[in-house]
């Protein structure tokens, strides 16, 4: 009942908001007692906005990102993504939603090691059932400057190159929202700067909503808005 009321009150607001998190709490069972990782987090993200969530390691950034992207379910509260309450979807429905709307970039790249660079980029397109996946994949790999490395396996690429492949993979479906979890965490300063540059260039080009989780202040500053996370709570 309470939820319904909340729905009515905020309906107009929700319409403008692309992502809205309401009172997110995440608890996990550790042995016999439960541990609170996130506590009562509410936030709104507008369409086309870029948001950075910064905090020290262990503050709950990845957990929050997982909840916002529908990879995980909150213990309390809810996430409304593009007018859909994620709590009402099951795992496969959320997967479908991700396939259509969401791109990911990770700290450790998360490329499939037995696929070539091109195949890795083609993967989301194939999942999406798109035609001529190789054409679009090549287009993006050209944009990230790896047109010469199409047939290389992740092992044959440097860290920065792997992250470029990951960025190409993230943008290839033209996602409406992109989640990045410490995209520069595994890279040296110079490479990190290049990657950040590339990321925002493509973000602008495709008008993607960007949610960036990082402890890198450089990356944080590039975003329009920055939120601080400390011990699972937002601080201003």
């Amino acid at each position: 009942m309470g939820k319904d009321r909340l729905n009515k009150e905020n309906r107009s607001k929700i319409r403008n908001m692309f992502i809205r998190a309401e009172h997110l709490t995440k608890k996990v069972a550790v042995g016999s007692h439960s541990l609170t990782i996130l506590q009562d987090i509410s936030l709104d993200i507008e369409q086309g906005e870029s948001l950075a969530v910064v905090g020290v390691s262990g503050s709950g950034k990845s957990t929050l990102l997982g909840l916002l992207a529908g990879l995980d379910m909150p213990t309390q509260g809810r996430v409304v993504l593009d007018k859909v309450d994620l709590n009402t979807l099951n795992e496969d429905q959320r997967a479908k939603m991700r396939a259509k709307n969401i791109g990911f970039i990770f700290q450790n790249f998360q490329l499939l090691s037995n696929l070539t660079a091109l195949e890795n980029v083609m993967l989301p397109l194939e999942l999406h059932g798109m035609k001529e996946p190789d054409k679009r994949a090549k287009e993006l790999l050209e944009k990230v400057g790896l047109i010469e490395r199409l047939q290389h396996y992740p092992k044959q690429l440097s860290g920065g190159e792997q992250q470029r492949v990951a960025i190409a993979r993230a943008f290839v479906i033209r996602p409406r929202i992109l989640f990045a979890d410490e995209p520069t965490g595994n890279l040296d300063q110079k490479t990190a700067t290049n990657i950040i540059h590339l990321l925002f260039e493509l973000n602008q080009h495709y008008h993607t909503t960007l949610v960036c989780v990082t402890h890198d202040p450089l990356l944080g500053k590039r975003c329009k808005r920055m939120l601080h996370l400390e011990g699972g709570q937002l601080v201003s």
């Binding site: 997982g66 990879l71 496969d92 998360q110 499939l112 037995n114 083609m122």
Partner: protein, 850 residues
């Protein structure tokens, strides 16, 4: 273009590179090769065995009659789709045509008038068999082109105008290939030496040597006159159901002079052997399927573990659980179909190779339809292995949370595999049922395996905990902690090792025991000649003559002809159902004997064998079948008419007799002295090596009144039967070893990743290569020791149980296996583990990290 490939093909090609799929494919391939070639072999040996038991008749069933078989009966067999052929058998005098051709017909007629068996330089009583074109329906007709030349299977019957003669006729008649002999009024060219013809039985009247002619020549011999003693036979072979149907139809139609004989009923020894073989093969089959199944499950588990990260990424990018499952499913299906088809064809070629190499004589060409059975079982094997063993570990992939991309420690919730497990058991059960067609055996085997695995896992797990705790004080091994740490993996690993060692041990034991028992059943130098009608006056000189021919320690039994007159004062004619052939036999003359000692192949099952004090008394020992058929009990009074005398005797014991022991055997035995003054002859049997066949001629020349019966052919048939079984058992044993090694390998690599990580860490922390190898080796040796101990004990346990319930053989604990298995385990697992994981330590830690 590359990307126009079908997605599942692409996926397969990508996964193939990861290695585990290669292993699964290899395991399925080997299992299918083993199982199809085995089923090919067993199906064909089965055909061979049925043929062998039929080969003593030349068919499954025979109808014998003194008149030609009714047309109506022959028509019915065709109607039921049974195969038939006819033969005509008669005794006649056989003689050689001299070079001038002067030996004429009327001489042989005079000889016929004498109408008694007699061996002569030029005149011999022989059993002529005129055969039709399909002869024989079962068993083999074998001939040689020269005396003592190697024989081979005859592809046809004798051509018109030619004759095939048994070897012993050649010296007696002074014949060579190409000479001519006279049968009745016709001349025949001697074409081949007949070395093996079916439808010979000990109990029959096959005293005379066999002569084979074409049925088309029958008329020319002019022997088929009214009143001549001729036996017409209709040989019948076909499917069991059709035979049964035919039997029901024909039995009421047969006249008292016609008899229907069933080959299987007349050969109990072969039946038992057939059943044992079948059960043994069933055991091997189960062992092979479950060993490869466990191997595949282990590899598939590793494969699925390796897929966790990729699947998490796929899910993160929006793949549904079903999409992922579908990918892997179609992947595995595609793979198994390719590999299965390959395995089946390789299995077929192995079968063909083995058949032409070794088992040619006993293996029979599978008829068109039968060839589908191994193929079907091969395909079933693929699916059983795939869905029962390879799939369950992969099912957990659809449960993987996409969150794993953020948190490495998120393993899928442990899937409740009970249903899948149940399915695997059902599938394996079905396979064994299909192959052995033996419900009892299947039940026992499946329950046994289940029991062993579950109890085994439980015991091993406890044992491991105990060993690692106690062991720390006993042996200073640093890695014992490792054993406990990997408790679950190690318990599974040891179970796999133990399973291998148990099955190897058990099969080894069954194999040796089974073969030994079989060997005991067929004496290698079984008597191949019987000599009957030895008069008492010549007893001493006959013995001396045999000794001269270096045939020693022969035993001569007295034989008297007598008729059973009454049982407990009731005349025997009234008790016997005259329409029953089996009972009617006993109204004929019986062979009686006396003996002080119980013959070695006889066993008293009721009452007591004679003591010295019984000598001269009216007591007898009767054979069990005889007693059963005439309903004779211990203590019954039997009256015999022997020559002029009437003798009354009380039954004091009932015996069983090995009719296939090739010793003279008797339904009724008296103690010594009771029959002493009655007229009698003597009978004996002995083994004569084939090359000494001339000695028979000498016997016949020196003792013209005795008759020699040749049983070599029957002995040969039995021998080749047992030889083939033991050969086959050896090959199947080899297959099982191969499957065992696959499982061993699968088990070893199942913990390879954990070991690799641990080793790399230890190397970074400064452990030397030697130190690491030592840790690794000692851990594997310890695992091998445990598995070997368990294997040795459970192999003995299994065998004890099997010997009691399935094989009906005596068994005592085999200490060699008990002691050797731990050693074998240590060596095998130690070496295998070392060889399998060695590479981990040879790569520098830096490269290993990439």
């Amino acid at each position: 273009m590359k990307y126009s490939l079908n997605p599942s093909w692409k996926f397969l090609v990508r996964n193939w590179k990861s290695g585990e799929l290669q292993l699964i494919a290899f395991a399925i391939f080997i299992a299918v090769v083993c199982i199809t070639s085995m089923v090919f072999l067993t199906e064909s040996i089965q055909a061979g065995l049925e043929d062998t038991s039929g080969s003593l008749l030349g068919s499954d069933w025979v109808i014998t009659s003194p008149k030609p078989i009714e047309e109506e009966i022959v028509k019915k067999t065709h109607h039921l789709g049974l195969k038939t052929t006819t033969t005509v058998n008669f005794l006649t005098m056989l003689t050689r045509k001299t070079t001038d051709g002067s030996f004429s017909r009327h001489v042989s007629k005079t000889a016929l008038k004498r109408a008694m068996p007699k061996y002569d330089e030029e005149l011999v009583l022989a059993e002529v068999q005129a055969v039709g074109k399909n002869y024989p329906l079962r068993g083999q007709l074998r001939t040689a082109v020269q005396l003592f030349a190697k024989d081979e299977i005859a592809s046809s019957i004798p051509e018109k105008g030619t004759v095939w003669l048994e070897a012993r006729l050649f010296p007696i008649l002074g014949l060579e290939i190409g000479d001519e002999v006279i049968i009745g009024s016709a001349f025949f060219k001697v074409d081949r030496v007949l070395t093996n013809a079916p439808d010979r039985t000990l109990e029959g009247i096959n005293m005379a040597p066999r002569v084979l002619i074409n049925e088309g020549d029958l008329g020319a011999t002019k022997i088929l006159q009214p009143g001549s003693r001729v036996t017409y036979k209709l040989l019948i072979a076909g499917q069991d159901e059709n035979l049964k149907q035919f039997k029901n139809w024909v039995t009421p139609k047969l006249t008292p002079t016609e008899t229907l004989i069933d080959s299987r009923q007349s050969r109990p020894v072969l039946n038992i052997a057939l059943q044992r073989t079948n059960r043994y093969l069933g055991l091997i089959f189960l062992v092979n399927v479950s060993l490869s199944g466990v191997a595949i499950a282990m590899v598939a588990r590793r494969f699925s573990l390796k897929q966790f990260d990729s699947v998490a990424i796929l899910r993160c990018f929006g793949a549904s659980g079903w999409w992922i499952l579908k990918r892997y499913l179609s992947n595995l299906l595609l793979l198994s179909l390719i590999v299965g088809a390959l395995g089946i064809s390789v299995g077929l070629s192995i079968y063909n190779a083995l058949k032409s190499l070794f088992l040619n004589e006993m293996l029979f060409e599978l008829p068109g339809l039968a060839i589908t059975i191994p193929v079907i079982i091969g395909l079933c094997t693929v699916f059983v292995l795939l869905f029962g063993f390879a799939l369950p570990p992969l099912l957990s992939l659809q449960k993987i949370s996409p969150l794993r991309v953020l948190r490495k420690d998120l393993d899928p919730p442990n899937l409740s595999n009970r249903l899948v497990f149940l399915f695997a058991i059902l599938a394996v059960t079905f396979l064994i049922m299909f192959q052995t067609r033996d419900v009892e055996l299947t039940g026992i085997l499946v329950l046994l395996t289940l029991g062993i695995s579950s109890v085994g896992l439980w015991v091993i797990y406890g044992l491991l905990q105990w060993v690692s705790r106690v062991g720390q004080f006993l042996i200073p091994l640093q890695n014992l902690g490792g054993i406990r740490r990997r408790g679950r993996e190690n318990a599974l690993q040891i179970l796999a090792f133990s399973l291998v060692l148990t099955f190897i041990g058990a099969l080894f034991l069954v194999r040796t025991d089974l073969l030994r028992t079989w060997k005991d059943q067929i004496p290698f130098q079984a008597p191949n000649y019987f000599v009957v009608n030895i008069p008492p006056t010549l007893l001493a000189s006959f013995k001396a003559f045999l000794q001269e021919g270096s045939i020693n320690s022969v035993h001569l039994d007295p034989v008297m002809m007598g008729r059973l007159v009454s049982v407990n004062q009731e005349p025997v004619k009234m008790q016997i159902d005259l329409s029953n052939e089996k009972q009617r036999v006993f109204t004929r003359l019986l062979n009686l004997t006396w003996s002080q000692k119980l013959q070695s192949d006889n066993r008293v099952v009721e009452g007591q064998w004679f003591s010295e004090s019984d000598n001269g008394k009216g007591v007898i020992s009767v054979e069990r079948g005889f007693a059963d058929r005439l309903n004779i009990k211990l203590g019954d009074k039997l009256d015999f008419q022997i020559s002029e005398k009437r003798i009354t005797a009380v039954v004091t014991s009932i015996r069983t007799v090995e009719w296939d022991s090739f010793q003279p055997n008797f339904y009724v035995i008296f103690p010594p002295k009771t029959l002493e003054n009655l007229s009698r002859t003597y009978i004996t049997s002995f083994y004569l090596p084939p090359e000494k066949i001339n000695f028979i001629k000498k016997i016949v020349q020196n003792f013209p009144m005795v008759s020699v019966i040749d049983t070599q052919m029957i002995v040969n048939q039995l021998k080749s039967f047992f030889d083939t079984i033991s050969d086959l058992v050896q090959y199947l044993w080899g297959f099982t070893l191969m499957v065992s090694f696959i499982l061993l390998f699968a088990a070893i690599i199942s913990t390879l990743d954990e070991r690799r990580e641990e080793a790399i860490l230890l190397r970074i922390l400064g452990a030397g290569q030697r130190q690491l190898l030592w840790i690794l080796l000692s851990e594997f040796v310890l695992l091998g020791l445990l598995a070997g101990t368990i294997g040795g004990i459970s192999a003995n346990g299994i065998l004890y149980w099997l010997s009691q319930t399935v094989f009906d053989l005596p068994y005592r604990i085999n200490y060699e296996v008990l002691l050797l298995m731990p050693v074998i385990g240590m060596v095998l697992v130690g070496f295998g583990g070392w060889a399998g994981t060695r590479s981990v330590f040879l790569t520098p830690p830096y490269r290993a990290f990439r």
